[in-house]
Symmetry: C4
Subunit: 208 residues, 4 copies
């Protein structure tokens, strides 16, 4: 089996999961605003729904970019790989739920449970991603015959610690839900900067 | 007509139906939690929405994998095949509704009606899938000219009993809704294991 | 410009519009059922939501099959064609709204307004479809150079009366909303049968 | 990396964001209509939800057409380009939220805040689009080797002022929310006419 439909289906689920996030935004706006607390006031007050939208959209976007890079090393898929893909996509398309929990509860006393649910979901996503990768490369099972061993090793090194770092960031929600969320936002920023800036530096070095 | 757009449209509907399932999760969470029954308590209490999400997502994922395998045996489509595809997709994209019924009613006295609705939907899906397959292979109408007769016979054998087994599992909801749902979850697990483990064993045998 | 992305985008909007229809199904179920009117009773009572789901899903499915056939005659697209595509898709993705109106109002005194809104939406869809086709074929602007004039003429003949027939069926809602809806369901059935059965008969004749 | 998956993902997000707009339409219809204010009356009264649907659907459609034109000049993508794509799509898929704000608030005293939110979202979209373009063309980084410098210069000229014009139209909401929205609708109309009519005129000139 070729990789085409696995990419189409994954792109579909990732695009929908990211776009559905907007349905949560503003879900806690009151149906009618009071004269003293106008719409502007309510929008400012619901900043957690905007922050949660931004963090989760970027998280799914980064997953998409990484899935893209992963599939480029793969020549074919088998049924087990497709079922791991289904499991992986099930965790990604779960993200809108804990995102809503955070948006609704960050400012109440329930921020801890919300942040833990969010963190465990992202940890499961990272674990599903690793399962995809390690299944594909074991004994070179699904790898392209011309895959560069240095690139494969580089991807392995950059993914292997992912679930553990995410689990750690999740557990930080026990003492401080806010710190846990800031960590997940920082991971996103780090990924974007690391692969944009340093990735480009590496590319330049490779070319010279 | 080539098979390209039939696959794109099917992938789209399957990806959306699977991803929409998340909208039901937590729909029965109270807007505000009570001090004595916190968010954690409410999340644990709504375990049926999580179980229903997982079972239905995997069911749609398995349908996707099987549709993928079916389309690989097919060289072209005609209008009748496209209309059967529309009917088939109509049953698949119906799945989020009975999934919600189960999540909302499993713990009330109405679990029976919910499980029956779920089961009949999955039975219709299996029947639609068979209609696609038997229409395509009748007189070799839409089959690839190089389709392996052994593979075609194998697919036929593995699908032909599907709707009847699903109907049986549906009717088990009459005495016991819970048993019916556990059966549908077990079918999923069986499919994944059967085609991953035994499928691989078969492949190894075929290669040697 | 090639036709590829116009098809991808259209497939996406059509698949999503069809799959979103399920969100309306059961939206009028009560949050909790009464002991005397159980869930089964409520489901039977909401038959219009199921009928509306089926008719609208098949309508969008038929639009997809027809759009597929239209694009096969076209070699390239220009900006005007893309903007007509956007207008056409805007009418199709509007369908879930009047579908909900019908499901919610068929059994109240407001069935007339709901059926009129539904009919005018489908009439606009048919008009948008014709705009696509007649723009493409005018002076052979976007047609494939090897397009069969007989096929082009056949498509023209089968589409040209569409909006007028739909407008008529819409206006029948003034005296009888139910009759109008039955007509739209009958059009679907007719299309499926006509292009499946007679289409196949024509193909057989053409081959001999 | 080739441009294929960046287009698939963008098409997916754009198609979904456009199709989700329908979920807002009629969200402010009362559950039951009064004998004196029937459904027809309520539909006429909710004209802002229809206007907002139309304007936002066309806005996203125009973004799709422009993204299509942009990607045709590009030969390859890198990680930074993909991350800018994610940011750009995040602003586009935000559009359903301010669209709902406008539909719900245009007739109340809160139209100003709603129109400002809408305008700033579209300004961010235009800025994200420009970021994509200027990143791609800087030092010819991602351009096709055979890209026509005149076409590249033409696209640059037509996009560079976009965010500033949108920002101006946004600020006009301070004195008059309605004027701001009419301006955004007029921009859409202008784009469609400009690139259809004049674009065709230019093409004719180029051919002769």
């Amino acid at each position: 089996m070729t990789t085409g439909r696995a990419e189409t289906f994954a792109d579909g689920v990732l695009a929908i999961a990211a776009t559905l996030l907007i349905l949560n935004v503003g879900s806690n706006l009151p149906a009618a605003t009071h004269p003293t607390h106008g719409l502007g006031h309510e929008l400012v007050k619901s900043w957690p729904t905007f922050a949660a939208y931004g963090i989760s959209f970027f998280t799914i976007g980064i997953i998409w970019v990484n899935h893209h890079a992963l599939m480029q090393q793969i020549a074919r898929v088998d049924r087990t790989f497709l079922f791991i893909t289904v499991f992986f996509l099930m965790t990604v398309s779960f993200i809108p739920f804990p995102t809503r929990l955070i948006a609704d509860n960050l400012q109440t006393g329930e921020g801890r449970v919300a942040a833990l649910t969010y963190g465990f979901t992202l940890t499961a996503t990272a674990a599903g991603f690793n399962a995809l990768w390690f299944y594909a490369i074991r004994k070179g099972r699904l790898l392209r015959s011309d895959a560069d061993p240095a690139v494969v090793k580089g991807i392995t090194r950059s993914y292997i610690s992912g679930p553990w770092i995410y689990l750690l960031a999740t557990l930080i929600a026990l003492p401080s839900p806010g710190a846990s969320l800031i960590l997940f936002a920082a991971f996103n920023l780090f990924w974007v900067l690391e692969s944009s800036l340093f990735g480009r530096a590496r590319d330049s070095t490779a070319e010279s």
